[in-house]
């Protein structure tokens, strides 16, 4: 029997959050954490969590499992559980809506701020804007982000200033458009990032790199943005 401790909070009935302890029969299999949550849900249908694709593609089930953020659907128990105990909490730093479901508004607001779409004011060509294979390669390690918020919600700088620090996820996407050869708004994009908070609250702690379930490296992207700002100023 697997010992599970799960964060519960229903704002309509609970005065404060609490940890609920349960036992789950995993049948001795190395299940994913999401499977365990589904087993719990079969016992107690009031447990709330988000999920959709169950294969690490949609980014809905970002959770804090035994102290580390990740996607429940691709986190095997063998890599998560310590001493037969699984502790599941919502992503840290974001307001809890209910149980494991968090309010991601601040996270999305930061994403919106970086204008995550291609901007090009030159006349559109007949078919499409072409890129050389080398130019396309620059977007590798950037475009794969699924906006699960595992990184930003593990970043202390984002905890303290979620309204002013863009956070690792947003900055990775900011760089994705700064690095795109088809985008012509580089100057405007950089000008909006050159305040003391948006980029420069990153202190290089690299929590974001440690948790990204897609193996992306926001810290490196932030370094690139910093260099672009530096070059722009000199």
């Amino acid at each position: 029997m697997l010992q599970v401790s799960i964060y519960r909070y229903n704002p309509e009935t609970d005065s404060e959050p609490y940890m609920q302890d349960l036992e789950v029969d995993t049948g001795g299999k190395d299940l994913m954490v999401l499977d365990v949550l589904e087993l719990i849900k079969a016992q107690d249908s009031t447990v709330a969590f988000r999920r959709s694709c169950r294969e690490g593609v949609c980014g809905s089930d970002g959770l804090n499992m035994n102290g580390k953020n990740g996607l429940a659907c691709i986190s095997p128990l063998s890599e998560t559980v310590k001493n037969n105990k699984l502790i599941v909490r919502p992503l840290p730093g974001l307001p809890v809506v209910r149980d494991l479901v968090v309010d991601m508004s601040l996270f999305y607001q930061q994403y919106e701020k970086i204008e995550p779409y291609l901007q090009n004011d030159t006349p559109a060509p007949a078919i499409e804007r072409l890129q050389s294979p080398q130019e396309r390669e620059k977007l590798d390690g950037l475009y794969e982000c699924i906006l699960c918020a595992c990184c930003s919600s593990s970043c202390p700088s984002f905890w303290w200033n979620p309204d002013r620090f863009i956070g690792p996820a947003g900055l990775l996407q900011a760089y994705r458009f700064l690095a795109d050869s088809r985008d012509t708004a580089t100057e405007e994009r950089l000008a909006k990032l050159d305040d003391p908070f948006s980029v420069f609250r990153c202190h290089g702690i690299q929590n974001c790199v440690a948790v990204c379930p897609k193996g992306l490296n926001p810290t490196r992207a932030i370094g690139h943005i910093r260099n672009m700002l530096l070059q722009r100023a000199t």
Binding site: S157, W160, N161, D163, V199, F200, R201, L229, L230
Partner: protein, 122 residues
Amino acid sequence: MVTAVTNFGRSGLYDWLMQRVTGVVLLCYFGFIGAVLVTHPDISYSEWRSTFEPTWVRIFSVAALLSLAVHAWIGLWSVLTDYVTPRMLGDKANLLRGLATLACAITLFTYLVWGIQIIWGS
């Protein structure tokens, strides 16, 4: 909202650069002081004093002192805007942070003037 009015420079980049540059100056200075202590293990007070006599050492010392003040200012401002904010402490936080920032400014300025006086005084 945390406002940026009290930050030292005009941009985040400028602050970040200053933090790096002043860091390097401080590193060099403490390297120098360390070297003096290592090469003179039994340094006497008069020897120690005379180390600071040459004009270049005085200039170096003032540069280090200035760097320290700037470095501390940017660092403390960052810490205060991380932790002493309405998000962390509620409504009174902005007033509190203003006072704390002022206290930091006065302290750093005092140490700066006092330090220069010590370095350039006979």
